[in-house]
Amino acid sequence: MTDWQAVAAALQAPIPPGDRASVIAPLEKLERDFRPLKENIPLDTPLWAGPIESGPVSPE
């Protein structure tokens, strides 16, 4: 799990002790939810560029 407090300090956006519960806990949950989604992104996957109206460009 990422050390979000260390990241925040490195980015010069320190998280005050009183804010840890409202900031760190949601980030940890988001990281847990997002990790499995990003693990197997095909190399050539582009960024989203608007609503898609036709099928996939190429079969994955």
């Binding site: 979000w4 980015l11 900031v23 992104i41 960024l47 609503p51 898609i52």
Partner: protein, 440 residues
């Protein structure tokens, strides 16, 4: 009154635009306890009304919105009129030009009555604004109207104006529509320009409108006016999600939406259950993207902590530390999910689902109980709307019933990109058949 009714009265000379505007302003003043407006523009509205009356008198009719009172969410730039976005940071901001959508409705002949209150920076769903006060729900003034376009929802529910603008990043038009018993239209992503609107999340923000009826939403959208009962929905393939969208619902919400689905079937729609790929993944991606994009917008003010509400500041702090690679990966996962979800349209023409899992919570309530389990109010309000911001699909919220406690319940119709006409077809047919009484 609806846009259609007012339009008839104006053209039959039963009322002038000035008389209509004066009456609207009288009603707005009488409903000041709702705190739905941040700014009321009475003087400018009356001057504009006189101009529009002169036009009508010489036969220059701008169309169905000529003379119609409109309220703009206070995130839309309005030339010469303060635009706060509900934040203290912009408390003195007076734009030098109108937002594109404000200009569009102005050209169509609307009369701006004022700027509506909202959740701070459009970043939340309660509209309990720490700087401009809480907006009250006209159905029960101890309850929130939803948000972030809460003031727009409240002015429609109180029948102060027939048309209001809104923005929807995770449900901010549809949620107040549901909690206030009115109609909310979030068109396809990018249909209406976001130029001149204070942003929240660049790739999730949708510009839209709120009205009292589906037909009025169609008029505001610029669709041909429907005639008779509905646009005709026989054989329209309506999909009801069998996963996610009916999980963890207030039983009264579930029952009311199920009744609306049965009504759609009785009207001739071919209703089928459909399994959707993974709506929860869409919500995860949305959270990450929104946190990062919103932090980008507001990071320059991070040293003015005292000028933010605590809920918004916590979200900005979260967004500031998200790595760029995670943000970009979220946009790539979004592409993959969008491809998966596209398959939905092979078997159905639209989706029917609840707007929110609950009815309007009380002001200040942070959690709600659903079937015995506690859930965060924000999540219970947004988890069914947010997926369609990620996909950019058009969605329409309309009232489908009342709870036993007398609170509105919202139904959501979702269509493929740029197929808003389907929303109006099914929405107007259901509106007629369900006969929701919006009188408070």
């Amino acid at each position: 009154m609806t846009i259609a009714e007012i339009g008839r009265a104006l053209r039959e000379r039963k009322i002038s635009v000035v008389e209509l505007t004066r009456e609207t302003m009288r009603r707005i003043a009488g409903a000041s306890g709702l705190n739905a407006f941040i700014t009321v523009t009475e003087e400018a509205a009356l001057a504009r009304a006189e101009e529009l009356d002169r036009e009508l008198a010489r036969g220059a009719d701008r169309g169905p919105l000529h003379g119609i009172p409109i309220a703009h969410k206070d995130a839309f730039y309005t030339r010469g009129v303060r635009t706060t976005a509900g934040t203290k940071i912009l408390e003195s901001f007076i734009p030098s030009e109108d937002a594109d959508l404000v200009a569009r409705f102005g050209d169509a002949g609307t009369v701006m009555t004022g700027k509506t209150n909202l959740h701070e920076m459009c970043y939340g769903i309660t509209s309990n604004n720490p700087h401009y006060g809480a907006v009250h729900n006209p159905w029960d003034v101890d309850r929130i109207p939803g948000g972030s376009s809460g003031g727009s929802g409240a002015v429609l529910a109180a029948d102060l104006v027939p048309l209001a603008t809104g923005t929807d990043t995770g449900g901010s038009i549809r949620i107040p529509a549901a909690y206030c018993g009115v109609v909310g239209l979030k068109p396809t992503f990018g249909h209406w320009s976001c130029r001149g609107v204070v942003p929240l999340a660049f790739t999730l923000d949708h510009m839209g409108v709120m009205t009292r009826t589906v037909r009025d939403a169609a008029i505001a959208f610029g669709q041909p006016r429907p005639s008779g009962r509905g646009f005709g929905i026989k054989d329209l393939r309506a999909g009801v999600p069998e996963n996610f969208f009916f999980d963890r619902l207030d039983p009264e919400v579930a029952a009311s939406v199920r009744r609306a689905v049965q009504t759609a079937a009785a009207l001739g729609a071919r209703v089928t259950e459909i399994r959707l790929p993974d709506p929860n993944a869409l919500n995860t991606v949305a959270r990450l993207i929104q946190l990062a994009e919103a932090a980008t917008v507001w990071r320059r003010y991070q040293d003015r902590r005292q000028d933010f509400g605590p809920d918004v500041f916590a979200l900005l702090q979260q967004g500031l530390v998200i790595p760029a690679t995670d943000y970009l990966d979220a946009q790539r996962v979004r592409t993959l999910l969008a491809r998966d979800f596209l398959k939905v349209w092979e078997s159905v023409d639209c989706l029917l689902a609840p707007v929110t899992a609950i009815t309007a919570p009380r002001i200040g309530e942070m959690t709600v109980k659903i079937d015995g389990s506690e859930e965060d109010v924000r999540l219970a309000s947004t988890r069914l709307t947010r997926p369609f911001n990620v996909l950019g699909w058009p969605a329409l919220a309309l009232p489908c019933g009342l709870s036993n406690g007398g609170l509105p319940i919202g139904l959501q119709i979702v269509a493929p990109p740029h197929r808003e006409k389907i929303l109006f077809q099914l929405g107007s047919a259901l509106e007629d058949a369900l006969g929701f009484d919006s009188t408070i």
